[in-house]
């Protein structure tokens, strides 16, 4: 997936596809591949295998969530009422838009539009940061209400819902017995584990995007070698899909119970 050779040779807009060895092929074609197509297929295949390990990883978290939700249902319902649907919906829209700009970035790379590619990558970068910013607003609220699992965890929103007027006026939750209320901590553990791992993937993605913007400005991806942009796109869309499932499971499905 390295694109280091592409830029080294992309500099002299070489119409001849020769390089140091004196034989003909694009500079970015590695010698252990038959041709460009085979190289791209191999990289795409490997990227999908990696994404499938990621699917299994997040799948474990989703499964844990479903099992505990089934066990401690009343606690999970009341705990999920603490999440703000407005921020969740806005973040979903931000992330989907960033997936769109990323897809457009791949198109720009394929059709060799350097300025378009840089613009798309910058937009994706900004939208990614926007997502994390909104997530920070949500985390801040959880910290202030002592809903982060640990020594300072507070049960008062669940044993005494009236003490939390903002949530109470919307949901009119009944007080939970202490043993059930304790299990809201399990909900928030899973909430932070799942959204935290998702956010970590976003942070890694944004870091790679920063690197790609730098390289795209130097013309690395618009001379025919799009593998890196394409496979990063796959990663970014995968992160989007994880959120597409996190949003209904954490925010939406317990609104009425």
């Amino acid at each position: 997936m390295s694109d280091s050779t592409a830029i080294a040779h992309g500099g002299h807009a070489a119409p001849d596809n020769t390089h140091a060895g004196g034989h003909e092929h694009p500079a970015y074609l590695r010698h252990h591949f038959e041709n460009v197509e085979q190289q791209a297929d191999a990289a795409g295949f490997a990227m999908w295998l990696f994404l499938l390990t990621e699917v299994m990883f997040f799948g474990g978290l989703f499964t844990a969530y479903l099992i505990y939700r089934n066990w401690y249902y009343p606690a999970f319902v009341e705990a999920s009422h603490q999440l703000n649907i407005f921020w969740g919906t806005l973040n979903t829209a931000v992330l989907i838009t960033s997936s769109f700009t990323m897809a457009m970035g791949v198109w720009c790379a394929e059709t060799r539009k350097q300025r378009g590619l840089v613009l798309c990558l910058v937009l994706t970068f900004i939208l990614g940061l926007g997502f994390l910013g909104i997530k920070t607003v949500e985390y801040k609220e959880k910290i202030e209400k002592h809903h982060v699992p640990g020594f300072h965890y507070s049960l008062s929103s669940f044993t005494d819902p009236v003490s939390d007027p903002e949530i109470y006026k919307e949901y009119h939750d009944k007080p939970l017995a202490l043993d059930m209320a304790r299990h809201t901590e399990v909900y928030f553990s899973l909430y932070f584990a799942m959204t935290g791992m998702h956010a970590l993937h976003m942070i890694i993605g944004i870091a790679i995007l920063g690197f790609m913007i730098f390289r795209a400005r130097a013309g690395a991806y618009t001379s025919g070698h799009v593998t890196f942009v394409e496979n990063f796109g796959l990663y970014w869309h995968f992160v989007d899909i994880v959120w597409i499932f996190l949003f209904p499971l954490l925010y939406l499905i317990s609104r009425h119970q």
Binding site: P15, N17, P26, V36, E37, A40, D41, G44, F45, W48, L49, L51, L52, V55, M56, G59, F62, T63, L66, I67, N70, I85, T89, T92, A93, I96, T97, S99, F100, M102, A103, M104, W107, E110, T111, G224, V226, E230, G233, L234, H237, F238, D240, I241, I244, F245, F247, P248, L249, Y251, L252, I253, R255, H256
Partner: protein
């Protein structure tokens, strides 16, 4: 060079921006739909509707944004096998847990 470029583009299907715009707006509309559905009183069906919409959205992303619809058979098979294995593992785990204490709670 032109031949080379044409060969690359023949082997490598370029998805047009029109499709990306349609797919992007469909995803935003479905996001609105899933939020709307969560405000309805459908009982257990609320969760079913939310997950069904999520699955549709994920499929659209995989097929179009991730190009699987236009990819090689190898990629299609890889994605399908991976998802099948994933669903088998999650399905069997959940079936076990949800029936372990059947009637005892």
């Amino acid at each position: 060079m032109t031949d080379q470029k044409e060969m690359e583009e023949a082997a490598h299907h370029v998805v047009s921006p029109v499709i990306y715009i349609i797919v992007g707006s469909t995803l935003l509309v479905l996001t609105g739909a899933t939020v709307w559905a969560s405000y309805q009183e459908w009982g257990n069906f609320n969760a079913v509707a939310a997950l069904a919409i999520a699955v549709v959205k994920a499929m659209i992303v995989v097929l179009f944004f991730m190009h699987v619809k236009y990819s090689s058979k190898l990629t299609k098979l890889t994605v399908f096998c991976g998802l099948f294995t994933f669903l088998a593992l999650v399905g069997m785990t959940l079936a076990d847990y949800f029936t372990r204490a059947w009637g005892r709670w």
